[in-house]
Amino acid sequence: MSARPATRLRVVAVLLLAAALTVAVAGGASGERKQSGNLIVALRGRISPLELARGHPTPVHLRLASTLLTSDQTALPRVKRLEVGLPTKGSVSTRGLSVCTVRRLRNATSKGALNTCGAARVGHGVATTAVALPGQPAFTARARLLVFNGPRRMGHRSLLLHAYSERPPTSVVVPFRLARRRGEFGLTMAADLPAALGPWLRLAGFRLTLGRRYSFRGRRQSFLSATCPIPRRFTAGFFSLAKVTYTLVGGRQIGTAITRSCRAP
């Protein structure tokens, strides 16, 4: 008799574990992929929290992960430009947020960058690159990414992406322009990758989390906010969350978009 509750608990634990695994697998497989020639681009992402207010913006964090790979294991092409499109209805606020400059981040380690510009940080992540030096076998290098609120450039807001790799020791600052345009991905973050990276470094993917909550004049602010504008009788809505476009050397482009859902109480 006394063994029954323990057995029940075990069954519940196994069921919960199975459910967790199912969710994990489903989450892992939820990335959308697109292939052009031998090049495959994949994008995964989500916003948190999933439950948003219907009428007014809720502070959110956005997670994106994108991978570039070749179907035949050949070397990746060089990426010249990276563009991330976000929903037009998402809002970005940098009101009262500290501003960092390229000069302050140049040649800094991740720790150094945080010491100098920590107050302006709006995101973090990891970039993966394939390094193919002549006469050496190719290897993978990972760089820690930090994203900072940058100064306005020609009327547009900017974000500064600081990438630092310990092996090989490399520090790069890439300014992204934040702009609005027409279309479903009306909020764009775009940057030309510096030619100074050289011909041997090939971007193979990135993981990025964007979001920051801060106070300004006693009021809570959020770098990213979103709403879930669905009618009362619905509990969830679907929207195009993000689109990533890689422009390769030679002008060819490859990209993919993802659709996700939001919930409203």
């Binding site: 939820s30 959308e32 992929r33 697109k34 292939q35 052009s36 020639g37 495959i40 179907s71 479903e184 504008p229 669905i230 009618p231 009788r233 619905f234 509990t235 969830a236 679907f238 195009s240 978009a257 659709t259 859902s261």
Partner: protein
């Protein structure tokens, strides 16, 4: 007593017959392989069919999202009905195209997903017409998921207009 020679007489007749049959089958196989299109040709032919239909879907679904937001579910249902009809027509047209021999199994799986997509679209239409919002919402989630699974099956084909894009549906 049967000698070996006597016993092999039927074999002598059978061997050329089998060889002839094999040669005929091989010949037929070669002819079939010659007729089957390459993946590149197949993609080109399908895209030519899918493109006008994908654009038409985008046109008829224009504003559907706004209709749902404004709770004009019956108006949205009418748009979904048109999109379902276009989708069904496209699937019917592309299913008649000769498939590349090496991709037949994969394409059978893809067409299975497309059939399911059509059923989801039909069901979404029915639920929207009946103003059963939650049911329509659940089916939409399945429709998107199934569409992504379909895309993954034919990833290597590099379809543009024949691939599933939720953005086409309003």
């Amino acid at each position: 007593m049967r000698t070996i020679e006597e016993g092999s007489r039927p074999l002598k007749v059978a061997v050329p017959l089998v060889l002839a049959a094999l040669a005929l089958m091989a010949g037929l196989g070669t002819a079939a392989a010659a007729e089957a299109p390459t993946r590149h040709d197949y993609v080109r032919r399908l895209e030519a069919i899918c493109k006008p239909d994908a654009l038409a879907t985008q046109r008829v679904m224009s504003g559907a999202r706004g209709d749902v937001k404004a709770e004009r579910l019956k108006v949205a249902a009418a748009k979904f009905a048109k999109a379902t009809s276009i989708f069904g027509g496209t699937v019917q047209k592309i299913s008649k195209i000769e498939r590349p021999a090496a991709d037949r199994q994969r394409l059978r799986k893809w067409f299975g997903y497309l059939g399911r997509q059509e059923r989801y679209l039909t069901e979404i239409t029915v639920k929207l017409r009946a103003e059963e919002a939650i049911q329509a919402q659940r089916l939409t989630a399945r429709f998107i998921h199934n569409g992504n699974l379909a895309n993954n099956v034919v990833l290597a084909f590099g379809f543009e207009y024949c691939s599933f894009k939720f953005s086409r549906y309003g």
